[in-house]
Structures are given as structure tokens and as C-alpha cells.
């Protein structure tokens, strides 16, 4: 792409010390994005939660037990070279793409034909399949937002970083004669709702944005965080996610990736490794 222009790279920083696991982000997301619900949602492998809060424990016995909550939206991975996200690169019908302008991984429900290859590719389980027709109890479809298209059965969906909010914010800016948005004008629903203020959202490439200041991403090394206590999930796989986490606890940071017993947390990341370019 045109390298001279600095593209935006929207990303998220989640402070796990602040996150209380209350789950507001999950519902904020569902309410914003017309996520359907079923009568039984206790099979978590068949329950659409674009934002899912995981419960981590340090696996120590009573009373040394600790728990930490980890909200997991779509990571909007960039991969090791432009847009080579695990999922985007495998979608056979171009139903998901990587936008260099925003760094957002899209999911186009009407294009997707439900092969689920992207789900097999995503190590974060951020992608969800519509096994069922979405059904709202009579009358409740009134609560659906027109800004997000409801999904039909048989296709994959996932977190979009509330991209429709970006679209709407841009529209508002355009009629006011502006082309660019201010930091607060585009925020995701989960960020806005989080009662603990644990989620920060913004342009990782913009040094004035809070997300940049919090993690100080090193763009020469695939956005590796350089701030203390910052880490990304499964950094070693080279997915280059745009969701960063902060935790003061070593066991939490270590739980963010796989390590051999003798390895130090966060250290031996093989970030310089270049994957082979994709075919064609």
C-alpha cells in the first residue's frame, strides 16, 4: 500500500487489573450489535458472544487461589504482513477482509457462505457461526438497531469494533465539514459501557490517543507492546492482534501465551521471524 500515508490502526487496550468481570461489555455488545439469544445459552460453544469474558485462575489451591477476568473481542489481527490475519487469509469467498485504512477485519454476512474455515483458523474463538435462525420473542425485534444488519442462519459473525459507529461518526463529521474524527467520536459500545473504565479504544498509530500511550506499540516489530505490563494474546503465533492487555500480575501475563517451562514470560518471542509470503 501507499506507505507514505499513516493509516489508522484502531485497537483496544483492556486493563485486566481494572476489569471486574461484571460482563457489561458483553451485553453492551449484544445490545449494540443485534446479537440474538436462545432459550438455552449454556452451551458456550454454540452461544454468540462477540465479546466474551473468560475467567482465568492461577490454578493454586485454597487460599492462594486468584482469579482474573479477560474480555476477548475479535483481535483484528494484522498478521506478519499487511492483512495476513489468520482468518482473512483463508476465507475462500472474500467475505472477510483487512482494511489498511482502519486495520479492521470485516465480516460481510451476505457474502459469507458458511464454510467456517475462518473459525478453524482463529485461535481466539472470536468467530461465531449462526447455527440457528435468529429469533426474537414477539415484539422484541423492536429493540433492534438499524445500524447493524441482523445476521441470518448459516453464516459466521464476529466483533467489528462497532464499525457502524465509525461510519455514523464520519457522516456526522462530513456534514460539519470535517474529514477526520476526534478520539472520543469513535468509541466501541463496550468501551463506552464498561463501568470500570477498563477498556480503552482508539488509533494505535496516533501518539495522541490513549491506546497508543498505554501500550506504546512498536510498529517496526509488528506492533509489539513496549509498555510495562502490556501483552497480547498468543503473541508468539505471529497473529499480530490489535487488542492489548495490561496486567500487573505475572501469572496473568504468562497465561496470555504458551511458554515452555524454562522460558521467561514475554521474553523469547520470536517476533523477527518472517512467515513466507502467502501464495500468489
Amino acid at each position: 500500500m501507499k506507505k507514505e500515508r499513516i493509516d489508522k490502526k484502531f485497537g483496544m487496550v483492556i486493563d485486566l487489573d481494572a476489569c471486574t468481570g461484571c460482563g457489561s461489555c458483553m451485553v453492551a455488545c449484544m445490545a449494540e450489535n443485534n446479537v440474538p439469544f436462545k432459550k438455552d445459552e449454556t452451551n458456550k460453544l454454540d452461544s454468540i458472544t462477540w465479546m466474551r469474558v473468560y475467567k482465568l485462575t492461577n490454578k493454586k489451591p485454597f487460599p492462594e487461589t486468584e482469579i482474573c477476568y479477560l474480555p476477548r473481542p475479535c483481535m483484528h489481527c494484522e498478521g506478519q504482513h499487511s492483512g495476513h490475519s489468520p482468518c482473512v487469509s483463508v476465507c475462500p469467498a472474500t467475505a472477510t477482509d483487512y482494511d489498511m485504512d482502519t486495520g479492521i477485519v470485516s465480516q460481510i454476512y451476505t457474502r459469507c457462505f458458511g464454510c467456517r474455515y475462518c473459525m478453524a483458523a482463529c485461535p481466539y474463538h472470536a468467530r461465531y457461526f449462526n447455527w440457528w435462525d435468529p429469533v426474537w420473542p414477539d415484539g422484541m425485534e423492536k429493540s433492534l438497531s438499524p445500524n447493524v444488519s441482523p445476521r441470518m442462519r448459516g453464516i459466521v459473525e464476529k466483533c467489528s469494533f462497532c464499525f457502524h459507529r465509525y461510519q455514523l461518526a464520519l457522516d456526522k463529521a462530513y456534514v460539519k465539514g470535517r474529514r477526520e474524527l476526534k478520539e472520543h467520536e469513535y468509541q466501541t459500545s463496550c468501551t463506552q459501557a464498561c463501568p470500570s473504565g477498563a477498556i480503552t479504544f482508539g488509533d494505535l498509530n496516533n501518539p495522541d490517543h490513549q491506546v497508543h500511550r498505554l501500550v506504546k506499540p512498536d510498529n517496526r516489530h509488528h506492533g509489539r507492546p513496549t509498555a510495562k505490563n502490556a501483552f497480547r494474546l498468543l503473541e508468539r503465533l505471529g497473529t499480530n492482534p490489535k487488542v492489548y492487555y495490561l496486567s500487573s500480575k505475572e501469572w496473568v501475563r504468562r497465561a496470555g501465551d504458551n511458554y515452555l517451562d524454562n522460558e521467561e514470560t514475554g521474553k523469547p518471542l520470536n517476533l523477527m521471524k518472517e512467515l513466507q509470503p502467502e501464495p500468489h
Binding site: 500500500m1 493509516d7 499487511s82 492483512g83 495476513h84 482473512v88 476465507c91 472474500t94 472477510t96 477482509d97 483487512y98 482494511d99 489498511m100 485504512d101 482502519t102 479492521i104 470485516s106 460481510i108 454476512y109 451476505t110 457474502r111 445500524n147 447493524v148 444488519s149 441482523p150 467489528s160 464499525f163 457502524h164 461510519q167 455514523l168 464520519l170 457522516d171 456526522k172 463529521a173 462530513y174 456534514v175 460539519k176 465539514g177 474529514r179
Partner: protein, 235 residues
């Protein structure tokens, strides 16, 4: 590549068949022309069915609930199209006017127009929104930003909507019975299917949007498509 191979083979087999036919021709002199005739009968009938009958079945014609005269209204308003089709403060576009807007002027019948009478009596008096059929209606998966086109790119309404503002009457709305799409989206003319169109408003499928975007902006921000990103127009 094997698709072309397929074709070669099919054609080859046709030839073989013809050879075989001619080989047997001596035996059945009288029947020689018949298969060819039948072939053409079948061919013509199905062509007619495909190009004439099929579209007639596929599209249902609907009359607009009120026949609106754009010309008369354009003469009365100061701000052109935006007088009624305006931008809201939040940047969204109002689209077809709501009853509340119309009522500003049409509280009572103003003229002798039969259409106005229908409008006032059926809709204004009962407070029912007019169920307009929107020719340019895009499906739910599309996010179309009027602001980006009109405010940012300074495009005229006519560029995409054609000369509807100069019309004195609303044409019939044609709806695809299978998809519910307005016929204007897929292309009003049959040859639009063959990617031919003269004016932008003759067809508004995704590829038309993408093509124009590429032409006008040169943006190729989507790694996968080498065009504008999917989420620029999808929601």
C-alpha cells in the same frame, strides 16, 4: 483451464454426433431436416421464455401509493432536493420525507389535484405514513453514506438518482419477487445483466459502487479485493 477443456470436448462431441447423423442420413432421407427444426423450435421457445416471460414473472409492478409530482414541488421550495430530502444533524440522511414534513404544507387540501386529495384523505387525516416504494433502496446489509457522497465528494443527486426531480409523475415500482429488491438495483434493462449500462442509475449493484470508488478515489485499502474496504459500504 479444465473448463475450457470441457467446452472443447462438448463441441467435439457435437461434431461427432453430426458426423454420425450424416452417416445415417442415407437411411432416413425424409427425417433429415426435422431434428434441426426441432432444435430451433426448442431454442427459440426457451429464448423467448428466458428473455420475455421470465422477467415478467420475476418482477411485480407496483403503483406508488400517491403519484407525486416532483416538478411542482421543486418550483415551490427554495433549497432544491435538500428541502425535503435533507441531512439530519447527526449526519444521517432523511430519505423519503415523513408525513410530519408533508403535513407542514398539506394539513388541508390545497389544490384540485386528485393525487393531493388521495394523499390528504388517506394519509394525512389518518396520520398514516405513506408507504413509498423507494426505487434506489439498498438492502439491509448496505451502509450507504449520503454525507460522504454529497457533502464530502460534492456529488449531485442526479449523478446517481437520475432526473427524478424533473418528473411530473412517479413511474411504477418493480420489485423482484424472489429477493424483494427494486429492479433499479439489478438493472432495469435486460442488457444491464451483461454489464452494459449507459447511466449510473441504470444499475446499482455492488460492483458498480466498487468500480466507481476505485475510479474516483483510487483507494485499494482492502488487502483482499484491492478495492475500497468492505466495511466502507457494508454494515
Amino acid at each position: 483451464m479444465s473448463e475450457t477443456d470441457d467446452k472443447v470436448i462438448e463441441e467435439g462431441s457435437e461434431e461427432t454426433r453430426e458426423q454420425a447423423d450424416s452417416g445415417n442420413a442415407g437411411d432416413e432421407e425424409q427425417s433429415k431436416g426435422l431434428p434441426t427444426l426441432f432444435f430451433f423450435i426448442g431454442f427459440i421457445i426457451s429464448l423467448v421464455v428466458g428473455w420475455v416471460v421470465f422477467p415478467a414473472i420475476l418482477y411485480s409492478s407496483k403503483k406508488q401509493p400517491v403519484d407525486f409530482n416532483h416538478v411542482i414541488h421543486m418550483e415551490l421550495v427554495d433549497n432544491g432536493c435538500e428541502s425535503c430530502h435533507f441531512f439530519r444533524e447527526d449526519g444521517t440522511f432523511s430519505g423519503a420525507p415523513r408525513l410530519a414534513q408533508c403535513v407542514d404544507c398539506h394539513e388541508d387540501i390545497q389544490t384540485e389535484s386528485e393525487n393531493e386529495k388521495v394523499f390528504v384523505e388517506t394519509y394525512v387525516s389518518n396520520g398514516i405514513e405513506v408507504p413509498w416504494y423507494i426505487y434506489a433502496k439498498q438492502p439491509d446489509c448496505v451502509f450507504f453514506s449520503h454525507a460522504a457522497h454529497v457533502k464530502l465528494a460534492n456529488m449531485d443527486c442526479v449523478t446517481c438518482h437520475g432526473h427524478i426531480g424533473e418528473s411530473t409523475s412517479l413511474r411504477e415500482y418493480e420489485e423482484n419477487v424472489l429477493t424483494g429488491y427494486s429492479r433499479d438495483i439489478w438493472g432495469a434493462k435486460l442488457w444491464n445483466m451483461l454489464t452494459l449500462k449507459k447511466e449510473p442509475w441504470e444499475r446499482m449493484k455492488m460492483d458498480d459502487c466498487a468500480e466507481c470508488h476505485l475510479e474516483k478515489t483510487g483507494r485499494k485499502t482492502s488487502i483482499q479485493t484491492q478495492k475500497d474496504g468492505c466495511l466502507v459500504c457494508h454494515k
